[in-house]
């Protein structure tokens, strides 16, 4: 059991969850539950690697991923905001489409997975922070991650700023509270909802890029492995507040890193610890919702 290794992996694993959570907060706040983050993440991972393989340039890969994910985000928002479909069902559709489109394209290219090891140098992408890496324990935990990791942590602050210190953030929160009221004072609720969902899509694209390009330089089928759903759990636990949801994202990252690191020393029962993140999520969600409902008791059944 290596303590530093676990914390290092925690930061690594938390990054895609963190991106999803920070983007998904906006969708949560405008009252459109974006269940399709899983699919968007998968699309981001897939299209970034695909464009990278086709063009050989990092920039094209990133732009392609962002573009494709924004399109899927636009489809989601068109279906659930403009046409007023049930966001859960259209989100489900996006998830299904993402899994099957990626599998379909892989099959048509007759590849088991897309490997871009020869284009992206994973070890070369690691950022070593000059002064920090010399500090004994902290240095080995904090330094040596990929660039998007640090951007993710900066994004916590940026999304807090956007949510609580700008006009747009106020609009987002108000539209979520009461859409009719905002329409009556002349704020276009639909537009705000669109932007909020698209912010979520954008950050899911970056989560996908982090997962596929930066960490592995590889895309395999279903590599998202429920990260989007974990992010939804984190958003619900933190009620869409950036700092607290980020903390939950870190917690779930810790669970994932524990499951990987404990597996190594577990021996025959190694599969057992793979369930750890999921059990933790159920437990944490249950605990948080019990605490929250105890705080504000409503008579009867509240449909939320």
């Amino acid at each position: 059991m290596n303590f530093e290794r676990i914390l290092f992996d925690m930061i690594d694993n938390a990054v895609p969850i963190l991106f999803c959570v920070l983007g998904g907060n906006f969708a949560y706040k405008v009252n459109v539950l974006n269940i399709s983050m899983e699919g968007m993440l998968l699309m981001g991972a897939f299209s970034s690697v695909l464009f990278l393989m086709l063009s050989g340039s990092m920039l094209v890969g990133i732009l392609g991923a962002v573009g494709i994910v924004l399109v899927s985000g636009w489809i989601f928002s068109f279906m659930s905001i403009t046409r007023k479909g049930n966001p859960i069902i259209s989100g489900l559709a996006i998830n299904l489409l993402a899994t099957s489109i990626t599998a379909f394209v892989l099959k048509s290219l007759s590849l088991p997975n897309i490997n871009v090891n020869h284009i992206v140098d994973v070890a070369g992408l690691k950022v070593n922070i000059p002064l920090l890496q010399d500090i004994p324990v902290i240095g080995s935990i904090v330094s040596g991650h990929s660039p998007l990791t640090y951007i993710a942590f900066v994004m916590i602050f940026v999304s807090w700023l956007l949510m609580y210190r700008t006009k747009f953030g106020v609009y987002v929160r108000v539209v979520g509270e009461n859409e009719e009221a905002t329409e009556s004072v002349g704020i276009r609720g639909t537009k705000i909802k669109y932007i909020a969902v698209l912010i979520g899509a954008l950050s899911c694209a970056f989560a996908g890029i982090n997962l596929a390009v930066e960490r592995l330089a590889l895309f395999t089928n279903d590599m998202s492995a429920g990260i989007g759903f974990i992010a939804i759990a984190a958003i619900f636990c933190g009620k869409g507040r950036p700092s607290i949801t980020a903390l939950y994202a870190m917690l779930f990252g810790l669970c994932q890193s524990l499951s990987v690191n404990l597996n190594i020393s577990a021996g025959p029962a190694s599969g057992l610890f793979k369930t750890l993140p999921y059990i933790m999520i159920v437990t944490i969600l249950a605990a948080v919702s019990i605490i929250q409902t105890r705080k504000n008791y409503t008579r009867g059944f509240k449909n939320e």
Binding site: R83, S90, L92, L97, S100, I101, A103, S108, G300, F301
Partner: protein, 218 residues
């Protein structure tokens, strides 16, 4: 956002889905798997067909669920809760308890589906036991396609099973990968979510109106 009848019927459909799969599909071997179950635990095949004893069992369960949803007090309350939980609560239904019952029933039905699928077709547990998007997701889609109506769900389930098994045949005899079915399902669910064709043209309303007029004349 509890959509109570949705979950209930979803799982009813899940089991029908499973039955239809056992109706059409050949067993496939997996890589990582448990040892096979003993032959004495397998459902026997009826006659020379692929239909096993699980099929009549599921039809029985389907009939029971139909009666429960359509004819019983519990089913009526479930439908009412799905339409408007607040109203149901105010008119004296115990919504929390009913939702719990529904979850338990849906869990039981899904469990039955899994067990039947295992004992009539798979015979061993593999990592891709219920397929990659999962039979449960298919079940949700079927519930949507069948408009949360038991008979509609039966038709939708058979349609989906045909789609899935048809995909297997397509991938054998042509270059088209069978993942195309996932894409078709995704597009379908996307348009169903907003009731696209009907909302754009209103053909269903027109048709029912026409039929009503004809009925009145006759």
């Amino acid at each position: 956002m509890p959509k109570a009848p949705f979950f209930l019927i979803e799982n009813a459909s899940y089991k029908i889905k499973t039955l239809s799969q056992s109706l059409f599909q050949d067993p496939i071997l997996g890589d990582v798997s448990t040892p096979s179950i003993l032959p004495s635990a397998m459902f026997i095949k009826l006659g020379g067909s692929y239909i096993t004893l699980f099929f009549p069992l599921v039809i029985l369960v389907f009939a029971i669920m139909y009666v429960v949803i359509k004819k019983s007090r519990f089913g009526y309350e479930v439908t009412a809760i799905g339409k408007n939980p607040m109203f149901a609560e105010i008119s004296g239904m115990n919504v929390r308890r009913k939702i719990m019952y529904m979850m338990i029933i849906s869990g039981a039905l899904s469990g039955l589906a899994g067990a039947g699928y295992m004992m009539s077709e798979k015979f061993k547990y593999t990592l891709t036991f219920s397929g990659v998007p999962g039979l449960g997701w298919d079940g949700m889609l079927i519930a949507l396609l069948g408009r949360h109506n038991p008979v509609g769900i039966l038709i939708a389930a058979i349609f989906f099973a045909a789609l899935k098994t048809g995909a297997d045949t397509i991938s054998i005899f042509s270059d088209v990968p069978k993942e195309i079915v996932g894409i078709i399902q995704g597009v379908m669910i996307l348009f169903l979510a907003i009731d696209f064709v009907n909302a754009q043209t209103g053909w269903f309303k027109k048709m029912t109106a026409k039929m009503g007029r004809k009925g009145a004349q006759a």
